[in-house]
Symmetry: C2
């Protein structure tokens, strides 16, 4: 009677449920019940092979099910672990209100500092480029745009990758085209330039990440991304900026406040 028996039961050979699914079910239930806690190591493949009397590929198949669900992750040479739920970043719908634009630091830095995290922004890239069909449509048929790319990290972990697109006639030759646009970010600069912001429109999708996104955000398998596309409109109802953001879904909760009118 190994210690595994206390957490995991036996297989039901009469069940028509596949063996690897039964094993995955038992592991999932043990995790849900807290028998295996966050960050804790699950039994090794070899141990499960012995416990259940199945082949190694069957056990690996079970693990791959749980990986796909985002419940566990494997580390080469170490073991398979219950995936810890990282602290989430809450994005409130008023995060672009003017009153948050006073300070010199970016909203991301200020907010993360307040939450006791160590924020960082890297892979800054600012360049002019051809607009994609989608961006062009959103900005009102512009051909070329200024693209500002940056990646946000929290405590060393990349959590978000964002690109802002602005029409060249607005951004060229202004602080917006500088790597550091100054206090209050590009929205403060836009208003200084006479483009008074009226409202934002945000589109939200969720999907599995592309291989490139997995790399950039160092995503574990089984973690989707939230894809947010924000368009900023000025008081003349002209789209002055489109911000395309891809976030690690396990690190974010988006929050919106809506009037009931």
């Amino acid at each position: 009677m190994t210690s595994l028996s206390s957490h995991l039961g036996a297989l039901d050979p009469t069940s028509d449920r596949a063996v690897f699914r039964q094993i995955a079910d038992q592991l999932r239930e043990a995790i849900d019940r807290g028998r295996f806690k966050e960050g804790q190591k699950l039994p090794s493949e070899a141990e499960l092979v012995e416990h259940y009397g199945v082949s190694r590929m069957t056990v690996r198949n079970s693990f791959s099910v749980l990986q796909g669900e985002g419940l566990v992750h494997a580390e080469h040479g170490k073991g398979v672990f219950v995936r810890p739920r990282p602290p989430v970043r809450r994005l409130a719908s008023d995060r672009f209100a003017r009153r948050h634009r006073e300070q010199g630091k970016s909203a991301f830095i200020v907010e993360a500092d307040a939450a006791g995290s160590h924020p960082k922004v890297d892979s800054l890239e600012v360049k002019e480029e051809k607009a994609t069909q989608d961006i062009s449509t959103r900005l009102g048929s512009v051909r070329r745009v200024l693209a500002r790319r940056r990646r946000y990290l929290l405590d060393g972990r990349p959590v978000e990758f964002a690109t802002s697109y602005l029409p060249l006639d607005i951004a060229r030759g202004t602080p917006i085209a500088e790597p550091n646009p100054g206090p209050g970010g590009i929205y403060a600069r836009l208003e200084e330039l006479g483009h008074h912001l009226d409202h934002f429109e945000e589109e939200i999708r969720a999907r599995m990440p592309s291989p490139a996104e997995v790399k950039t955000l160092q995503l574990a398998s089984g973690v989707p991304v939230i894809h947010l596309i924000r368009t900023a409109y000025d008081t003349e109802n002209r789209a002055v900026e489109v911000c395309d953001t891809v976030m690690a879904a396990d690190a974010y909760v988006l929050s919106y406040q809506l009037p009931a009118t």
Copy 2:
């Protein structure tokens, strides 16, 4: 020279990239380039085994990578197909505005009809039950609640599963406790009962579905869910309803309009 060669290249034995990843890469690229179109069948496992000269498990491993990315799905006895992007349902942030509450039919039915789809609502369940810790907190420490559960289908496909929770002192004995609450839905009834709605708060998360959610929403592998929790507040700032919604992420785009003030 089989027809596969026109779409798929050869393996690079000198690469340190795993063979199954190289195969997945080639298939992914062929799909991205449109060489395999939506709904189209990919080469069978046996064909790829022959084309690449690898074992069947290696080919299956490639397919499982693409399945995890939500790019393809397998059908037993038929083949592996490029997963079609279903038509998405766009949820606008003004979808609960009073002006949309006039008609007799539910917002879901009206909207889907307008889009030319065939909507359906099923698995209606209305019952009193004990509030979970989370729901109780959101509703302001209530012990028991009225729960209204329903599932939404579009053209026969389940796309959304929602549960509304209301405090018993508000809902008991009212049309809200009936399976069909009448024109304008429960928000119209709440206002008739004197609970004038002031604003909503929506929390959005994305994650991989639980096995139960996979079953209820008939989700293909590699499709995340959007988890939306909406709280409705009346003019006295009391939470009068919490609606917990799980949506198939490939069927939805959420859209929010935000003031820039």
